[in-house]
């Protein structure tokens, strides 16, 4: 029986904001298999990004566990010093605003995560070139981020996320700053990564069209995860009276 690549068990996250206790996530349970492309949808402030940062070991839950890999490694119990290595080897991040280092070329940005894993500069460069070719922007390797289009920057960011061959890719609104056509190209690329390379992809978005590219769709509202959401099932029902949602 196949084991999940990523699991969240009773994941809860609360924090203080302006003196109020905000429950960003409430008892979230989740199982994602290897090669799954999961879209987590929800309105702004529903807890999507919080869930992604917990899954990506960038933050710690108030309670609950995150188990990574088929062996179920409990990353929430690990010290901070071990989480760097976990992030470096196992998780690739793709951000809405790309987060490329502006002073580095596309090639150098892709090389960056490999610095601590691959000692040889030549090997790092070779691998970075392979990734840029795979993402169909080999001709842009010497260009710096400001010289690239938004779509090209996101491709560089995806190549960087793939640099260390992570099992899990976490994408936070990866098409949020892209036009429709480019967004579709990026989504197709992520779908291929999941189906052909068996990467486990978790993408948060509030765009149902982009979510349609995913193999699984989950919904987050007021910090609670569900398999369906009345708004996304029938948005017109809420045209006159939008659903309530806590602000994060």
């Amino acid at each position: 029986m196949a084991r999940p690549m990523l699991r969240a068990i009773g994941l809860t996250k609360t924090y203080q904001a302006d003196g109020n206790r905000v429950r960003a996530l409430q008892n979230v349970n989740l199982e994602i298999m290897r090669g799954d492309f999961v879209a987590i949808m929800g309105p702004s402030g529903s807890g999507k990004t919080t869930l992604l940062t917990l899954l990506g070991c960038l933050d710690r839950p108030t309670s609950g566990k995150v188990l990574l890999g088929t062996r179920g490694l409990d990353v929430t119990a690990m010290p901070e010093s071990s989480l760097y290595t976990i992030r470096r080897k196992n998780i690739g991040f793709v951000f809405q605003s790309f987060n490329l280092i502006p002073s580095f070329s596309a090639l150098e940005n892709v090389e960056l995560p490999m610095e601590n894993l691959i000692g040889s500069g030549r090997r790092r460069r070779k691998r970075a070139r392979v990734l840029l070719r795979m993402l169909e922007i080999p001709h842009r390797e010497t260009h710096k981020p400001p010289q690239l289009s938004a779509g090209e920057q996101q491709r560089v960011a995806i190549a960087r996320a793939l640099a260390n061959g992570p099992a899990v890719i976490l994408a936070d609104e990866p098409t949020g700053n892209l036009d429709w056509e480019t967004s579709v190209g990026i989504m197709n690329m992520m779908r291929r990564l999941a189906s052909e390379q068996k990467r486990t992809i978790v993408m948060v978005t509030h765009d149902p069209y982009m979510a349609a590219f995913a193999s699984t769709k989950l919904y987050l509202r007021d910090g609670k995860l569900s398999n369906e959401d009345p708004f996304y099932s029938d948005p017109l029902r809420f045209a006159a009276q939008p659903p309530t949602g806590s602000q994060q």
Binding site: T53, L58, Y84, R87, R88, E108, P113, N116
Partner: protein, 415 residues
């Protein structure tokens, strides 16, 4: 190595800002190194001055060996007074028993008001002393009647009148040098040479006849320097002169030597005390300047690096998401601080090497007593370099530590 390269690339992208910061830091380093060099140079100048004085005093005291068998005869009004001794006395004294030689001379000192006064030449506030000497080469060789340490022009020559040999202490006072003329009491003198003063002599040497003419002392002298055949004969010669000229003052210089030695020692103490005061003032200002420039350098790097960390919080979050450790991020910002320090240090030391003299005189002021020549040596260079390293390390440490402690989630949410 990769961190160093990455830090360099980041700074290169912000090169204009980096350069501006480095220039301000460079100024701190230049001030720091120049001040150290200035204080060093002041101490060296003071030491040189004391050594020069000591050497001059020793030379003078050695020369006074001649004094052990010398005595001076002056007119009743006292030494260096214009009352005068008849020129006839020269031959009379020279013919006495046990007398080896007689040097006739005129020495009359004048104060600011142009008046003469009694007392010795040294330390009595004379502005200048009219010094008539025999221009007889044989006498001069034997009894040093003229100065020998000529620093400009030449010495007085036998048979010439209305020429003068000026003490270097008087060049500024008369605002005249070799080839110029000065007017003393209505008599014009051509300056033919300048001699280096020992123990602040302010004598204007000229021929005896010129001095007599200038002072209206025709046929008269103010002093006879009499040299006995031997030290043991000094007492007999004194007795003989006193019996011949009961009204004259006769002083055996041997007894004056110990007084001169005391005087020299006293002058040296005064000189050292004065220099100590000057040095204390210079060192006090220098220390404050050194500390201030060091603090400013550290604060500058601190403020710049602190703002850098704030401005690049999102980038720090990205690095953490990519798997960079806290230590790696801290090291990166330390390297950036180090580069800023290095550039500032190199520019600062280059600036100090060309403008140390100007900077140190602006910062430390000038001393009337000290002739200070400032140049950047190895020690100020190394200390300046040390400052940049310490400033870069101390100034970057907290910002770099803070960068390493930023929560990745908070950092990534920062726009």
């Amino acid at each position: 190595m990769l961190t160093l390269r990455r830090a360099f690339r980041v700074l290169w992208r912000r090169r204009l800002r980096t350069l501006l910061v480095s220039l301000v830091l460079a100024l701190c380093v230049a001030v720091f190194a120049s001040t150290i060099a200035g204080v060093d140079a002041s101490e060296a100048a003071a030491a040189d001055m004391v050594e020069d004085y000591r050497a001059a005093a020793e030379a003078t005291l050695e020369e006074t060996e001649l004094w052990m068998r010398a005595l001076v005869v002056t007119a009743p009004a006292g030494p260096w007074s214009p009352q005068g001794i008849s020129e006839d006395a020269v031959d009379e004294v020279a013919s006495m028993d046990d007398v080896a030689g007689v040097v006739p001379m005129i020495m009359v000192g004048f104060n600011e008001e142009g008046q003469t006064g009694g007392g010795g030449q040294l330390g009595r506030g004379y502005v200048y002393v009219v010094h008539g000497a025999p221009l007889d080469p044989e006498l001069n060789d034997q009894y040093h009647a003229l100065p020998v340490n000529i620093v400009d022009g030449r010495n007085l020559a036998e048979g010439e009148d209305y020429t003068a040999l000026l003490s270097d202490e008087l060049v500024d006072y008369f605002d005249a040098g070799v080839g110029d003329t000065i007017n003393l009491h209505g008599t014009t003198l051509d300056i033919v040479g300048v001699y280096a003063s020992e123990l602040w002599q302010r004598d204007v040497y000229m021929s005896l006849s010129t001095a007599q003419d200038l002072l209206g002392m025709q046929g008269q002298l103010s002093m006879l320097a009499v040299y006995a055949e031997s030290q043991s004969a000094v007492g007999d010669v004194v007795a003989e002169i006193q019996s011949e000229y009961p009204a004259a003052f006769v002083i055996a210089l041997g007894s004056l030597q110990s007084q001169l030695a005391d005087f020299v020692q006293q002058q040296q103490q005064t000189l050292v005390a004065g220099l100590d005061d000057d040095l204390s003032a210079i060192e006090s200002v220098g220390l404050r300047t050194i500390v201030a420039s060091g603090i400013i350098a550290v604060l500058l790097i601190f403020v710049v690096m602190f703002n850098t960390v704030r401005a690049r919080t999102k980038e720090i979050g990205t690095f953490k998401a990519l798997g960079f450790s806290n230590g790696g991020i801290m090291w990166q910002f330390l390297c950036e601080g180090f580069y800023v320090g290095l550039v500032g240090g190199v520019i600062g030391l280059a600036l100090a090497s060309v403008a140390a003299s100007l900077l140190s005189s602006l910062l430390l002021g000038s001393s009337e007593n000290l002739d200070i020549s400032v140049s950047i040596g190895v020690a100020p260079m190394l200390l300046g370099l040390g400052l940049t390293i310490v400033a870069a390390g101390l100034g970057s440490l907290y910002p770099a530590w803070r960068a390493s402690r930023i929560s990745p989630m908070e950092a990534l949410r920062r726009e």
